[in-house]
Amino acid sequence: MTVTKAHIDVLPGADPRAPLLEVNDLHVEFRTQYGVAKAVNGANFRLAAGETLAILGESGCGKSVTAQAIMGILDSPPGFITKGQIKYRGVDLLGVAEEQRRKVRANQIAMIFQDALSALNPVYTVGFQLAELFRIHRGMSRKDAKKRAIELLDQVKIPAAKTRVDDYPHQFSGGMRQRVMIAMALALDPEVLIADEPTTALDVTVQAQIMGLLADLQKQRNMGLILITHDMGVVADVADRISVMYAGKVVEEAGVYDIYSRPAHPYTRALLESIPRLDMKGQQLNVIQGLPPALTSIPQGCAFNPRCRFAKDPCRQDPAPPAYAVAPQRTARCHFFREVLGE
């Protein structure tokens, strides 16, 4: 292999010293016939090489949409990015022409999806789907591309890769399929990997194996990993930092230890209290009262105020709480974060 990353100058203007990935004030809305759904309303975060950032939140809080916006695979229409920046190594991807943007996918930023059975094309062999990346992006011959596909399957520890390369997705088990997805995402050595609920469809033992594999591969390659999940357990094990999203906003961002020990936002706190624990056997499980707001009518002020036990008058009025600096490298969008922390 003589082709190296440096030879494939896919994104002109990228500065290797600039931060790996920066999302600033991202707004995404879906214009449907039932009204405008504001899925993401000012998401902010940063990701450094080798770092794992977990984006945590309930279904419908905008975490998957944020991921799709970063990848540039938002269905448009109905989805539109109305404001914000997505900077990769200093280049705002939203200003890049589609042809350039296409090459960024898989080369610089790759993604794995929740349900590998439906995320893989059922009518092509996994070998074809892997080799395709090398053929399209690297112009390799079918034979060389297949050889690389086998190497990749080996790297994600699929036994008998040489024969399995000709199998179809439905012939693999759930865990093996997710390994194939990972192999596909890592094929072109991306610097950023976005994993959208990578273990949700798997059973617990396989979950641990897949997370372990992801962590190993991340370390080997010094990749930035964005882990999208609603599973607090998975996050505690692997994440360096956590962004908690609610109604399309990052309501709290902090290191994993801080979040678990002293949450600064009432929503984070409520999430942590709703985790079932063995020592609470027989007691009623804490739940967050009410439902997340409909994205077509997000409450004024802080979006969480109707469900919040700390809410006071300022919370119910615009403007929404800004991102208060709770500590260095730590923010929370709550007027009363001191109360939440100190109680």
Partner: protein, 308 residues
């Protein structure tokens, strides 16, 4: 797979006998006085009538007639038409032109409906989608007895782009107009099904994956989406091809093409039982084979389908 094919072939034998039996019974029941129908207006003498009745076993009971017929069929003798021609020869004369007509029609239909279907699916709700929707509805609503003479009049006679009729040895060019008329019906349904199927597949998760892989939009559609979308379309193509092979009675009659449909139409109007059964028997076989091929095509398109 092999066992599946063998089982299907055995089923075909049964279906074949059943179908010929039914057709034979129907033409038998329909026969009024075939000899008079054959002679037309002219009177037939008693001795002629006796000789012909003897030759065609017309006075024997139904089952005996069927037995004679099957005996001939299984020894490769398709029998003799009431007009005295060997039915085998008539088939050999009629088949090639119908076959060519059917193949041109199906190729036209598939190429047009799949490309147009995919494009209207990509830009659903757009101008192209709406125009094709309108056109397919018009075509579906228009019976071929209207469409065929209209096409013949407009393109064949007034504009003179194509010959208005075709012969047994017609060139591809001469067969283009009737083939297009035949194709329109298939196009209407195949296009709608392709469009729906592609729209459905565009929402599938694997499409998102393919886009996340940085593939071009064109590759996502024509490589990833199309093969998944073709499965229901192939069923239709099979049915349409079977129908086209059986000869288009109206179209062949209007364009004066001496094909299978043309012959069957004539045989029915002259109460020529052996001829009808002869042609229909072959048609049954063709239908069965086309259906088998379609079923095997499913497995080729979708690896999840495996026949045991």
């Amino acid at each position: 797979m092999f066992r599946y094919i063998v089982r299907r072939l055995l089923q075909m034998v049964l279906t074949f006998f059943g179908a010929t039996f039914v057709v034979f019974a129907l033409t038998f029941a329909n026969q009024d006085d075939p000899l008079q129908a054959l002679a037309g207006e002219r009177p037939i003498t008693e001795s002629q009538r006796l000789a012909l009745t003897e030759r065609y076993h017309l006075d024997e009971p139904f089952l005996t007639q069927y037995w004679y017929y099957m005996k001939g069929l299984l020894t490769g003798d398709l029998g003799t038409s009431l007009t005295g021609q060997k039915i085998g020869d008539m088939l050999v004369n009629a088949w090639p032109v119908t076959m060519r007509l059917a193949l041109i029609a199906i190729v036209l239909a598939v190429v047009i409906s799949v490309t147009a279907g995919v494009y209207s699916a990509i830009r659903r709700g757009g101008a192209f989608d709406n125009i094709t929707l309108f056109l397919t509805l018009v075509l579906l609503a228009m019976p071929i007895v209207v469409l065929a003479p209209m096409a013949q009049l407009l393109f064949g006679i007034q504009l003179g782009w194509f010959p208005p009729t075709a012969t047994r040895d017609a060139s591809l060019y001469a067969l283009f107009l009737p083939a297009l008329v035949l194709a329109t019906l298939a196009i209407a349904t195949e296009l709608r099904v392709t469009r729906t199927s592609v729209v459905e597949n565009l929402r599938a998760d694997y499409v998102r994956t393919a886009r996340a892989k940085g593939l071009t939009g064109r590759r996502v559609i024509w490589v990833h989406v199309l093969r998944n979308s073709l499965i229901p379309v192939v069923t239709l193509i099979g049915v349409d091809l079977g129908g086209l092979m059986s000869g288009a009675i109206v179209t062949e009659k209007i364009f004066n093409i001496p094909g299978v449909g043309f012959n069957i139409a004539r045989a029915i109007s002259t109460e020529d039982g052996p001829l009808v059964v002869g042609f229909v028997s072959i048609l049954v076989i063709i239908f069965l084979v086309v259906n088998l091929v379609v079923d095997l095509l499913y497995a080729a398109l979708d690896p999840r389908i495996r026949y045991e």
